[in-house]
Symmetry: C2
Subunit: 105 residues, 2 copies
Amino acid sequence: MILHTLHLLGGHSRPGQLQRSIPGLSKKMMTQTLRELEDKGLVSREIHQIMPPNVDYSLTPLGKIFVEPIEQLYLWGIEHADALEALEANERLAGTTTDPLEAAE
Amino acid sequence: MILHTLHLLGGHSRPGQLQRSIPGLSKKMMTQTLRELEDKGLVSREIHQIMPPNVDYSLTPLGKIFVEPIEQLYLWGIEHADALEALEANERLAGTTTDPLEAAE
DNA sequence: CGGGATCCACTATGATACTG
DNA sequence: CAGTATCATAGTGGATCCCG
């Protein structure tokens, strides 16, 4: 989702905007994930100022390669919204839960 | 991986063959995942005999829809093996670990 | 603002043993 | 063979507090 969002935002973004763009994403997970993406060379981090902090994350050339299939997946999801809804419908039909333990109660 | 493998095996398979086709997949995880796929209507389970057990799992029409993007992803991976290798290479360059805690030791 | 450090409740998964 | 049950444990992620 971070790669996808970074792509949506034009290939780069500041942490704040990025987090606001992904509702539910905690600061911890965002930072942690960005560090991993950075380690793998998919994203680059640039510090422009220290106080107040002004950081910019952007997709590297390698990152852009990995964004491609991700975008395809998002497109697929949009085109097959019906199939996705079918999934959820089926889930509800089954035992309200996915956990075998909980189901036993 | 299970959907992909099921597809590879012609759309259906017995549990044993399926598990042997995915090295490292424990019986527990396989069964658990198959149950979820079943609940969501992606896979169907048919019992042909009780003793000895003869069960067959197969992709449902809905399952075949979901296999498509997965196959695309596998193909992408093959076509971009270089990009994938680049990932691993970068990982090694960084701290041998991805865990921020372990890294602090 | 960006982000590191801690604490902690869950969750996930492998191992193992058991059943028909 | 196919599957379930139980347990121990590593891993996950949110909440919170702190710093420059």
